[in-house]
Symmetry: C2
Subunit: 233 residues, 2 copies
DNA sequence: ACACTATTCCACAGAAGATTGGAGAATGAT
DNA sequence: ATCATTCTCCAATCTTCTGTGGAATAGTGT
């Protein structure tokens, strides 16, 4: 009988998920989608892909059921299929960083010189003590899709203009998408260059959500994390 | 400047891990390695691959640093690089099962009709109450590499012969490699056909290890699971 | 119905990956 | 030394994936 065939078929099914994760561009798309839903056009520009190429990659992800779509007029919004997908993406990054020495180098090359950071716990502690103001330096749409409660939206592009609005007597904690997002690094560098006390959250919104910490949002949830997959503190 | 280039390079690094997971055969190899180290020859036979093909896949896994090797005479033993790799493999399977409807069908086709199962907690409870005897139906080498404390090694191939040795007044709980391993299913079917009270552990050694439950072993640990990645109960 | 926008589908060329057989390297046994 | 064992490396072939334009499709606004 075809026990061997059936086993191969089963593992080939598992591999569909692996194949979906087997491209840097698709991981980049998942990274963006972890922040909230987006149109094909927005994704193609954010990931620096041709429109048709982005569409093809999104189809690949969709065929693996890692993302879902919603139509609104002529636009099609893509979103993650669930928190398990976000957890899987995060674990791929973690394992890559743990196992591949080159990841450290590539991360430094992209993120620039290390900037001072605080953990999620430390951020909560400092905010509670009134010692820190939290700013979300991601684009405004991502802030709208969900942010750390009490954080103020200050997209990196606007940071220089809004400097005067930021409290001068408090430390500023900047955060962005996640552990490998460049925005908070640049925000801290800019703020420090202007003489402000600034640090960044060590990771970002992705990890915040995976830890099932409270999220403030205008509209619906981006994804919920199954309790079994929540980050342990 | 090359911010775009650096970002692409970083995500391509992450994708190295994804690419390693992008083949059913490689996932099958990881599945075997999660039970303990093995030689290339043993792996190629267990996964039904040509020797050179198996070697090539193992090289791919090794270049992604998901596995490590050890030489003993003319033989080369492969093993998982760490518990994080096991956790990643398990999560790929979980997400695949969660997201892809075909996985359920493929699993049933391979495993056969559903057999009654108990959870890890329930197993521990029944053993403590003296109501159940636990048998490990994996090949003897895998038992030697680590097993549930108190379990008896009864490889599936020997089960029919050893039937008389098994307690007739206790329920028998059979377990094997993990959630998609066929051995425990077949053991339960055989035992029931012979009129024994038998159930299987719902998953297996892989998930037992990921939950950081105690493991009894003659030699060294197969892998340790970082506390952040342990299964939540 | 017509123009317009957003996205997918199709066809192609080049790149990358899988499988196989045979040669070659490392080790152990005689 | 020589030979057997075990595995890796190499070359050839075949398949799959990726990126790109251009055509086709679905929906909006006039």
């Amino acid at each position: 009988m075809g026990a061997r065939l059936a086993k191969t078929a089963l593992f080939d099914q598992f591999a569909r998920v692996g194949k979906a994760l087997a491209s840097g561009k698709r991981l980049e798309l998942l990274d963006l989608l972890a922040q909230g839903e987006r149109t094909v056009d927005a994704l193609s520009r954010a990931a620096d892909l041709g429109l048709t190429t982005a569409s093809a990659h999104l189809q690949t992800l969709k065929q693996a059921n890692l993302v879902e779509t919603r139509r609104d007029g002529t636009k099609i919004y893509y979103r993650l299929a669930g928190g398990d997908v976000a957890a899987l993406y995060a674990l791929v990054r973690t394992v890559a960083h743990e196992r591949l020495p080159d990841v450290g180098a590539a991360a430094t090359a992209y993120l620039g010189p290390e900037t001072e950071s605080v953990t999620r716990d430390e951020l909560l502690r400092r905010v509670e003590a009134g010692r820190a103001a939290v700013i979300d330096v991601r684009p405004a749409e991502e802030f709208a899709a969900g942010h750390i409660p009490g954080a103020r939206s200050v997209p990196l592009d606007d940071l220089a203009d809004l400097l005067a609005d930021l409290p001068a007597d408090q430390e500023i904690v900047a955060y962005c998408r996640g552990a490998y997002c460049v925005l908070a690094h640049e925000a801290v560098r800019l703020l420090r260059a202007r003489g402000r006390q600034a640090v960044r959250l060590a990771d970002g919104m992705l990890e915040w959500r995976l830890a099932a910490l409270p999220v403030e949002t205008a509209d619906q949830a981006v994804f919920d994390v199954p309790s079994a997959l929540r980050t342990r503190t």
